[in-house]
Amino acid sequence: MSLAATSDPMLPRPYRVGRIQHETKDIATFELLPVAGEVAGFAPGQFNMLYALGVGEVPISVSGDPADGKRLIHTVRAVGAASAAVAGVKRGAVLGVRGPFGTSWPVAAAVGSDVVIVAGGLGLAPVRPAIYRILADRGRYGRVALLYGARSPLEILFRREIERWRRRLDIEIDVTVDHASGDWYGNVGVVPMLIPRVGFDPGNTIAMVCGPEVMMRFSIDALRTAGVPDDHIYLSMERNMKCAIGLCGHCQFGPTFICRDGPVMRFDRIASYFLVREI
């Protein structure tokens, strides 16, 4: 599933910022257009290193459609100095891009299976390319469900798109928020609680889980309780990625490097150290 970056992987390519969509007060989605040459193709789940010139690099999963060969789409939350610089870019600015790097969601391996996607918060961004790919080839999959959890109704990511997907009759969408007031008529509660509500064939289901690690732990428990085997559960892991090519060791996770062996990892392969706090 690994897709190597083209040319020198340490050399950023310049991309110009196109349209920007402000998702929430600190999350922005923007398109990146190559200043020269072609857009580097990517597989759903892979990430790029985005370089705010003179500030620093941050690893950000691609959140756009892998079939779109004209632009890259990224969704970024302002957290530290570099991500704030990237998230705060203006239209027309230039960012450096290295990538794509890492492993991808098993969209090909999931053909013929039910697919349950469990996403929390900004974790919806890295799985969105997989959703695009699956919906583009919808007939080859069994039941498809997206379960999404957000902090509050105002912090639901890609809200219009979720509403559009919901109007399709071939994907089950359930959204929940952790906190809401009485004018919210949707679900309230954590996203793992949605898993038992979905009808799927657990032995023939591929689960893709992305979000904060603690949310993924609870989701794994719910998936296992529902009967999904460990080798059918895939997670997108996050660590402090720097070089993105498995050299610097910053993102070491047990015997693996997240940038090279992840970010998408099959749960049975990491289960023995997933809960080890020191890792």
Partner: protein
């Protein structure tokens, strides 16, 4: 009564229950219906009935003076509402409000408590069904409290 027996046994909360126990519980049960916006139960009220949702959705809320009610969970088809009937003082600790037309089975708590006192096998069976739900909700509440989608997280 046969209809309620069947409906009870078809509800996920009672999946796999022995029919004779289902028959005993059905003796305390009735069909209920709540319109959208109608309260199923109110904080401080007597916890004398709990509910198995058959269709619809119910918001569980806590109110505080001066602010809108805070919804802390929603329950839907196949789930249950209410555990305060299990222990004294048998008072509800929150409000529950139907978000849409909701059909449920209401089970008279006093009736069921008396039957559990008389038949500990029935009580043990109920405990085995309630405890996982309560544990699941406790863990979910912990996760909610962590505010995992806050700025320090993904």
């Amino acid at each position: 009564m046969e209809g309620l027996d069947r409906i009870l046994l078809e509800h996920p909360f009672f999946a796999g229950l022995e029919p004779q126990l289902g028959h005993i519980i059905a003796g305390c049960a009735r069909n209920v219906r709540f319109e959208a916006g109608q309260y199923v139960l109110r904080e401080g009220g007597a916890a004398d009935e709990f509910f198995l949702i058959r269709h619809g959705a119910v918001a569980l809320e806590i109110h505080s003076p001066g602010i809108a009610p805070i919804v802390f969970a929603t329950s839907r088809q196949g789930e249950i509402i209410g555990a305060s009937w299990l222990l004294p003082p048998y008072r509800w600790a929150f409000d529950a409000r139907a978000l849409e037309l909701t059909r449920a089975i209401g089970i008279n708590a006093r009736c069921l408590r008396d039957k559990c006192e008389a038949d500990h096998d029935l009580g043990y069976e109920l405990m085995k069904r309630f405890l996982p739900v309560l544990l699941q909700r406790l863990q979910a509440t912990r996760l909610q409290l962590l505010d995992v989608y806050g700025k320090q997280a993904t």
